[in-house]
């Protein structure tokens, strides 16, 4: 072994933080593929509904909710940067802002669904628009919920003092997931509210 170790050895040691990063990137790749299929189904069935209600009659563009969700990407990034610097209180506050913005988005989705179901009379079984709309938006909303659970946990840990600077790498992973959820919304928004309407 000594003889071999005298040969010049190119460094392969990868910093530990990259395990989490590569792991979440792998998951995000799989999620992109998952969303991709629902997006393809949505695009394929645009304009193929045999009966109403049609998207242009019942869909309102959720501009405020979209602004909230997209700006929550900024707040989670600020929180994660603050934790990297060791400012736990500030990090906790930014994470709280993220949770509130995400919560508002989820509330807006809930209101939209309530209106569509009870006022417009659109359910998943009504026509192809309902069949593709609820699963696509619902899949995204379920990812928002998972993200909110993780972010809320981080907030609570910041509140109780369990969250410390050493955990910054892990909060960074959560923030990457959250950025992904936001990026997917840009695609869903474009497909459902711009192209499909």
């Amino acid at each position: 072994m000594n003889a071999a170790s005298m040969v010049t050895v190119p460094a392969t040691a990868v910093p530990h933080a990259w395990r989490g990063r590569i792991g979440i990137l792998g998951l995000i790749l799989a999620e992109i593929s998952l969303f991709g299929v629902f997006v393809v189904a949505y695009l394929f069935y645009i304009g193929k509904s045999l009966s109403g209600p049609y998207p242009k009659d019942v869909l309102d563009v959720p501009i405020l909710a979209t602004i909230c969700l997209l700006s929550s990407s900024i707040s989670v990034a600020l929180g994660e940067k603050a934790l990297h610097r060791g400012e736990v209180r500030r990090a906790g506050l930014w994470l709280l802002v993220t949770v509130l913005l995400g919560g508002f988005f989820l509330g807006a989705t809930a209101r939209e669904w309530h209106r569509l179901i009870y006022v417009a009379g659109l359910t998943i079984g009504t026509n192809l628009f309902g069949t593709t709309y609820y699963p696509l938006v619902g899949l995204h909303a379920s990812h928002v919920i998972i993200g909110l659970v993780m972010l809320t946990l981080c907030c609570v840990f910041a509140w109780t003092g369990s969250l410390r600077q050493v955990h910054a790498d892990r909060v960074e992973i959560v923030s990457w997931y959250w950025h992904f959820v936001d990026a997917v919304w840009v695609v869903v928004f474009t497909v459902v509210y711009v192209i499909g309407r």
Binding site: M1, V7, T12, R19, G23, L29, V37, F38
Partner: protein, 559 residues
């Protein structure tokens, strides 16, 4: 780190007598990649026996025209369960089981990147498999006796609609495969992360063993192709239970869409299963030719390009759907294109053997048979990629023969080679060479008797999935020969099981490096300790162990 120290403490405490319960408990709570790898492989072997018995029943039913050995509905369930089990519960777990066991050892790591995620992946796959088989009891729910699903392994719409398959059998298929998919994705993430971030000192990408390159490729592919299947299964579930219309043609939905989604998964999946077979061969042939692999870089590039091209060939399963000339041509050409990197690999293996000092031990025998049989499989594959030819033979036994040449004649043979090759590392004992030869020859003969003749039935027009057939079609003698090959293969498998059991108790001790091999897994003891390597060896070339054994003539300058 804490995991490792705990396992070390565990082995010290074993001075006091341990009960069977202790031992079982250790296996259930383990996060060690080697134990999980072994459990993956054992799970796969358990399911391959189940699926093999299902195939045997089908062959008995088809041995002669007009037989009624099983009822027609049971026959449909048999081919559904056989296909589903073989792909999802044998193919995937055995491939990822070997990956689990070997990748960390080959790159000089102490475990996978996420050991607990690894345990999660295994257990959810196992329970997914059990869920599928629970359908035999619970498939029809409360009203009536249970049934297995009878929808074929690719579960085409609209047969899977509530109107055509009431009861719960289809849902068992749907949910069980969905659940195993989650486990497979978890393991794929794990293997990618491990390979990218945990390579030992000196293990650059240019020096990774080819098997590791292969597992990296198939894991990345898995991340791209399995979620579409899961998505399609979610859609099917929504169709069946919430009244959605994804695949419901009466409401404007498209049954063809299921085919696209399924085969976008289904065809790359074949390469996810077959590429690790190429990986085994690329590890075994050099060792038993006593030569460096010929064209390392080419093999790696061919592997990655097979992975990439395989994402664009799926609709060659759908030539008969009527996609139109442009799409048919595209998928025919992309399918032919994939034969190029595959052909390159065959020449790489031949080039490795050429001028080598060949040692025909059992692993090498299986690899040689693989070369012949895989060539046949590839040639019928290219034939089927020609769309007009495909129109004639789609859904015939010719197709069945083709993909069994791939999955049995190629994949299963390489898996046997791999088991004979790495069994000494895993258990510390050699498998018997004499029984190995019996196993090999019976399997080669049995396999070829069964599946060569199957091509003929296909060319004579026998459709797949038929329950029985009339006597005047000229198929009976071919079907009889096909069935006669089955007992030979069954005996071969039985000999293998006996070989494993006998060798575990009385096999010749293997030592750490019985084959005089060159990759890092042979640098540690057999079986390896929980922490794999006391000191992780430094890699200085593609054959780190050669460098250690021959410090006067290291490989590095020749690469």
């Amino acid at each position: 780190m804490s995991v490792i120290s705990r396992s070390i403490a565990g082995s010290e405490a074993s001075a006091s007598p341990r009960t069977l319960l202790d031992e079982l408990h250790d296996w259930v709570v383990t996060v060690d990649h080697k134990r999980l790898g072994i459990m993956y492989v054992l799970t796969a072997l358990m399911f391959v026996v189940v699926a093999g018995l299902e195939a045997t029943l089908m062959r008995l039913q088809l041995a002669w025209p007009g037989l009624h050995i099983v009822p027609p509905e049971t026959f449909n369930r048999l081919f559904t369960m056989h296909g589903t089990t073989m792909v999802f519960l044998f193919g995937i777990p055995i491939v990822f089981g070997f990956g689990n066991y070997l990748v960390p050892l080959m790159i000089g790591a102490r475990d996978l990147a996420f050991p607990r995620l690894n345990a999660f992946g295994f257990w959810i796959l196992l329970f997914g498999g059990l869920l599928l088989h629970f359908s035999v009891i619970g498939g029809d729910g409360l009203y009536g006796a249970g049934t297995a699903p009878a929808i074929g392994w690719f579960a085409y719409a609209p047969l899977t609609g509530r109107a055509f398959t009431p009861g719960n059998a289809t849902d068992y298929w749907n949910l069980a495969i969905f659940v195993t998919g989650i486990g497979t994705i978890a393991t794929a993430v794990n293997l990618v992360t491990t390979t990218l971030t945990m390579r030992g000192p000196g293990m650059t990408f240019g020096r990774l063993p080819i098997f590791v390159w292969v597992m990296l490729t198939v894991s990345a592919m898995t991340l791209l192709i399995l979620p579409p299947l899961s998505a399609a299964q979610i859609m099917l579930l929504l169709d069946r239970y919430l009244g959605a219309h994804f695949f419901d043609t009466q409401a404007g939905g498209s049954a063809i869409m299921w085919q696209h989604f399924f085969w976008f998964f289904g065809h790359p999946e074949v390469y996810v299963l077959m590429l690790p077979g190429f990986g085994f061969v690329s590890e075994i042939i050099p060792v038993f030719s006593r030569k460096v692999i010929f064209g390392y870089t080419t093999i790696v590039l061919a592997t990655v390009s097979i992975g990439a091209v395989s994402l664009s060939v799926w609709a060659h399963h759908m030539f008969t759907v009527g996609m139109g000339a442009p799409l048919n041509s595209f998928f025919a050409l992309s399918t032919m294109l994939i034969a190029v990197p595959t052909g390159i690999k065959i020449f790489n293996w031949l080039g490795t053997m050429y001028g080598g000092k060949l040692v025909f031990r059992t692993p090498m025998l299986f690899c040689c048979a693989f070369l012949f049989q895989f060539l046949c499989a590839g040639l019928t594959g290219v034939m089927l990629s020609v769309a007009p030819f495909n129109w004639q033979l789609s859904d015939s036994y010719f197709v069945v023969a083709h993909f069994h040449f791939v999955l049995v004649g190629s994949l299963l043979f390489t898996i046997f080679g791999a088991i004979y090759y790495w069994f000494p590392k895993v258990t510390g004992r050699m498998l018997s060479e004499r029984l190995g030869r019996w196993n090999f020859w019976l399997l080669v003969i049995g396999f070829n008797v069964t599946f060569v003749t199957m091509h003929v039935q296909g060319l004579l027009g026998m459709p797949r999935r038929i329950y029985t057939y009339q006597a005047d079609r000229g198929w009976e003698i071919w079907n009889l020969i096909t069935t006669l090959g089955v007992p030979l293969q069954a005996i071969a498998i039985l000999i293998f099981v006996v070989n494993v059991i006998v060798s575990l108790r009385k096999g010749e001790p293997a030592g750490s490096d019985p084959w005089d091999a060159w990759t890092l897994e042979w640098a540690t003891t057999s079986p390896p300790p929980p922490y794999n390597f006391e000191v992780v060896p430094v890699t200085t070339s593609r054959r780190p162990l050669w460098d250690l054994k021959h410090p006067d003539d290291p490989d590095g300058p020749h690469e």
